[in-house]
């Protein structure tokens, strides 16, 4: 359409739309939140309804270390975001490494917790309602952490090669948004499983 009347005052308007990557990631987060919500509802619904043991109170230990690490990783990734926006790439790589380390600690903590639950307490996904809902919900979250870890590690490796700079800040912003979401979900899961459900 090349023959649009040019005299309209709106022709010289500022035209800024939100970045498509952030919008897309936000939309994905909305959808994922709905999936988590369903698993959370199932968990809450089945609290106390087991026909057989073990019960949460008997076997669950609050994963303090893992939680602190995961929640701090939100801070570190925020620092990384700031660094890449301001083209401080060395800082970016360091903060990214910190985030990855904290996430790895969280996953390791979860792994040890599950090892204890499975081998010591004999709690598996098929043991009872608690087992089913616990491993599904926490496992779904852990899967999302793994995916995030994969994205972060890929970015880290690329930045080691020097291929990342401030032009990728919007892309990294989308990943960071995902990471914050994963942390927020952990707050919800932690509250439901270790505080309400025990």
């Amino acid at each position: 359409m090349s023959s649009v009347p040019i005299n309209h005052p709106a022709h010289a308007i500022e035209w800024h739309l939100p970045d498509k990557r952030r919008v897309g990631m936000s939309a994905l987060i909305a959808g994922e939140s709905a999936i988590f919500a369903i698993f959370v509802v199932a968990y809450l619904f089945y609290i106390g309804k087991n026909f057989t043991g073990p019960t949460p109170r008997q076997v669950l230990e609050v994963p303090i270390v893992g939680t602190i690490c995961l929640l701090s990783s939100s801070l570190t990734i925020w620092r990384a975001e700031k660094a890449i926006e301001e083209e401080r790439m060395a800082g970016f790589t360091l903060w990214l490494a910190a985030t990855i380390t904290l996430a790895a600690v969280f996953l390791t903590d979860t792994a040890f917790e599950w090892k204890k639950l499975i081998y010591q307490d004999r709690l598996t996904i098929s043991t009872n309602l608690f087992g089913t809902t616990f491993y599904s919900l926490v496992g779904l979250h852990a899967t999302h952490v793994v995916v995030g870890l994969f994205l972060l590690t890929a970015t880290f490796i690329l930045s080691l090669f020097g291929w990342v700079d401030s032009r990728q800040s919007e892309r990294f912003g989308a990943i960071a948004l995902y990471w914050h979401f994963v942390d927020a979900v952990w707050v919800a899961v932690f509250t439901v499983v270790y505080l309400i459900g025990r």
Binding site: M1, S2, L17, K20, A27, L28, A34, A37, I125, N128
Partner: protein, 564 residues
Amino acid sequence: MSDYTLPASSVIEAGAFASESGTVLERLHGWVVTVDHKRLGILYILYSTFFLLVAGAEALLIRLQLAFPHNSVLSAQVFNRFFTMHGTTMVFLVGMPFLFGFANYIVPLQIGARDMAFPRLNAFSFWLTAFGGFLLYYSFLGGAGLYGMGNAPDVGWFAYAPLTARSFSPGHATDYWALALIVSGFGTLGTAINIIATIISMRCKGMTLMRMPLFTWLLLVVSMLTLVTITPLTAAQFMLLIDRYLGGHFFDTQAGGSSLIWIHFFWIFGHPEVYVLVLPAFAIANEIIPVFCRKAIFGYPAMVAASVCIMFVSLSVWAHHMFTVGMTSVSNAFFTLSTMLVGVPTGIKIFNWIATLWGGRIRFTTPMLFCIGFLFQFLVAGLTGIMLSVSPWDWQLHNSYFVIAHFHYVLVGAIVFCIFAAIYYWYPKATGRLMDEKLGKWHFWLFVIGFHITFDTMHFLGLLGMPRSIYTYQPDRGWSFLNLVVSIGGLIQGIAVLIFAYNFVVSYWRGKVAGDDPWDAWTLEWATSSPPPVYNFEELPVVHSRRPLWDLKHPDDPDWEYES
């Protein structure tokens, strides 16, 4: 046809399509690897048309079996597979892909963009959906062999637990159902994300949200709704698979699990899903009705508000599918109220459409005829919906043929009618040729007559106590004659659809050349050639009102002077 020509059309070169030339294999390859939203849109539409014919054939066989009591055209097992596959196919492999296919084709054009926000995600989502459909139909092979219809799902399209548990559904039928829908569900999610990002972030200059065409607005609402609609189903299906394969107990009533929680989760998906299906039908009507009565849509801001309202309220009505499961009287009353309330913004839209027609100059072209059918039928469907929302009456009507009549009135009478309207309307844009009007009218009249013979009658079968999902019925129930009538109407619809399929295919080569703007319409897709070049627009447009082409055609009386 307008005698006003836009400059863009003359500049389209022969090489606007990269793979127009080349061997058959090269051209086919071009379609397989494409990330162009127009090609993907066409692929979605061809895919859904194929499954429309398949699921339609399933329906005709179902009606053949039910035309007479104690009939033996289909055995119980085969019938149960057919009605499950008919429903599952129509919702997931016809309805959703058609509507997302139109979205894919039309939305970037209407907002003056060159493509969707994430073209590769777009292609990936299509192929996921396609694979999901392939997986679902692969289920016909294996199991007890083709004449027993293999392993095709046979648990109803809503797959209630614990019927779907390993103990009651041994074999893989249920697994095919869950896996195919999980896969295609991810495809749907990808497309929804893509549409949202495209609409929010890629509108051309001057196109504020309140200047978007209503088609685009409604698809934004639909995509947002889809995000929280399809995902509960995916979650529930994961839970089902955990139960079936990892020994989980989500729906295992023997271990304290609950059948009710599946029902809740399914309908938390299932109800908004029908709004995901019907809102694009409104979107289509919003485009076609104004053009063929030559007036702007009446009450654009109200139409937007009503759509957003529907999106929110539709999330609160799901348990009207569950009035008979034994909820408390207070819960039943709540869901009765919320369901009646969601009828208000929906009804308002009908009033807006009538007000649009009022004072216009109505041209009864084929797309308009289908929209008129939609208006009458959606009115009736909405009213039978109100009847069903009255929970005591629903205690009689639930799971009867009255419900089947109601939802087919919406799915066929509203949605399929609008899909046909959309095809006749946008076919010239996508192919450069008009579909034949005479065949179109034959299609319309035969289809509308067959539709009413089938679905008007079906309401009475429900009132007479005939439940759904039964492969046969007793001759002493008084249902025999009406069932025969219903089946005959189905045959007539089948013939009409065949006429449509013929028109659809032959017009590609023999249709009248359309030009850029055969309908004298007002939105941006008509400002470029038919079909558009790969890059959509020579120059990205700048708009100042809701009907940019109206402004161009009426420079003395542009829309921006009237819009608030």
